[in-house]
Amino acid sequence: MNDPWTPYSARVVERVVETPDVVTLSLRFTDPEVQQQYRFACGQFNMLYLFGLGEVPISIMDYQDGCLQHTIRAVGRVSRKLVALEPGAMIGLRGPYGNSWPLEAARGRDLVFITAGLGCAPVIAAIRRAIAERDAYRRLIIMQGVKHSEDLLWQAQYDRWREVPDCEVLLAASEEAKVPFAWSLGMVTTLIDKARFDPLNSTVMMCGPEPMMRASIRALENNGVAMDNCYFSLERNMQCALGLCGHCQMGSPFICKNGPIFRVSDVRDWFLLEGY
């Protein structure tokens, strides 16, 4: 076992281009023993390392065919290079870190998923898990907002989800003159008013840009949803993921060790303040 700071060697097994700046990488540890001992829960994240460049936190999307899957958007120094990796490329990986979505506790309830932008990765993982155990939950509501309808990742996947029994898929585009069939015009918050779910017996899971989540919190409250039943995944700069470097503090919570998933009511004050 390495000390907590030191990554393990891993390899890119597969690369799927999702959009021009988003790819999904399938990764496997070089050491089979490390691979075998690796366990994670839905909502956790890894630190991915590129030689000579550094580490970035990335959510775990899925685990398939013995590979960890990460969906990454090229936004900066490290992520651009990650997105450009070809199968066979070597990287460093350590994790998993953080807590997970309350999928167990939400059994028997309506599940409401709200995402926007590319903030969808952690929530998509939860949606897939919920659909895999469809019978455990009541209604499923999936709401996604994007700027332009063609920004939507995994269009086909959303189409498939529409076929799942008692699963409502709502999509919104905010910066489009004319939206396609079955889409709404506006922010994701406009969908919250449209969706049919039981506000008293639902668990909400959110992820996305902070202004969108602030607006969603207001819309949910207006619809009578208690913040005790709402969860979101948060981001702050992360240098360690170990609870040591102090960068991920958002007021009192450390995002890496107390999150990244929080019950909204637990951190509401910090989250609503600018500049923490």
């Binding site: 000579g52 460049l53 120094r77 651009r80 290079k81």
Partner: protein, 263 residues
């Protein structure tokens, strides 16, 4: 196999930044293997017209010749890196922007007939697009190595914008402003030198230019409050990187009006 070609150019400057290349020691040999050095007069390579991947440009633009040359350099280089206080901010010679340079020239030279200089000393970025700025007077060898390394990997280097104070504290120094009332400008100066002057007990001179969020008003007030004459405080801000706006503002605020100075 060389992974890229580079050129090292000089405009109006003291050659101190170029010397940082020459003083890299063993790393100079490594550099020579990693890249093809096409033009570097100080190292005996004269091929000004070569097209290169990365051009390092030292010096500020103070003559018509500098102007003509920087335009050519830009045309022939994929990536232009301005190196040093002169190239990034106009350098010490930008002092003439705030003073009457003709008068100075007359005071220094017996005959000014052969001087052919522009009214102002300007940073490279005022004439052409600069892709990266490496600050310092001179630049730091460590940052130079990190920059070459990063560019070869196809990413921008990570260069700090934090204050010299951060490096000073990491180096285990004692603050000379606090123990000796020294007029240290570390709190408004970009890190990069490793807090060189304070490590020898001397106050910081702004070699690496303005840091992020430089609060020159508050620092200047403090220095004046410590009993340092206003005029000294003003001049302190416009020494090496006088071309920078926050420093010029500080100078304007504390300089004693010209009238009073003349009398």
């Amino acid at each position: 196999m060389a992974q890229a070609s580079i050129a090292v150019h000089k405009l109006t400057s003291c050659s101190g930044c170029q010397s940082v290349f020459l003083n890299l020691g063993d790393d100079l040999l490594v550099l020579n293997e990693l890249v093809e050095i096409s033009h570097f007069i100080e190292a005996g390579l004269n091929n000004f017209d070569a097209e290169v991947d990365i051009a390092f440009v030292e010096g500020s633009i103070t003559t018509p010749d500098d102007e003509a040359r920087i335009l050519k350099v830009r045309e022939r280089s994929r990536f232009v890196v301005a190196i040093g206080a002169c190239a990034c901010s106009g350098g010490v010679q930008a002092l003439r922007n705030v003073k009457d340079s003709v008068g100075w020239a007359g005071a220094v030279y017996a005959d000014t007939e052969y001087l052919d200089s522009l009214a102002e000393s300007r940073p490279v970025a005022q004439l052409v697009k600069v892709d990266l700025e490496l600050w310092g007077c001179p630049i730091s060898g460590r940052q130079l190595i990190a920059t070459v390394r990063a560019l070869l990997q196809g990413v921008p280097p990570v260069l700090p914008t934090e204050k010299v104070c951060q490096e000073c504290k990491r180096a285990g120094n004692v603050c000379v402003l606090v123990t000796k009332a020294a007029p240290c400008l570390g709190p408004v100066t970009r890190a990069g030198c490793g807090a060189l002057c304070p490590s020898f007990g001397a106050p910081c001179y702004t070699c690496f230019g303005a840091s992020e969020q430089p609060n020159c008003d508050s620092l200047g007030e403090r220095l004046v409050g410590l009993g340092i004459p206003q005029r000294q405080v003003a001049e302190r801000f416009v020494s090496i990187s006088s071309g920078l706006e926050p420093y010029q503002k500080a100078w304007a605020r504390w300089r004693i009006p010209a009238k009073q100075l003349d009398s």
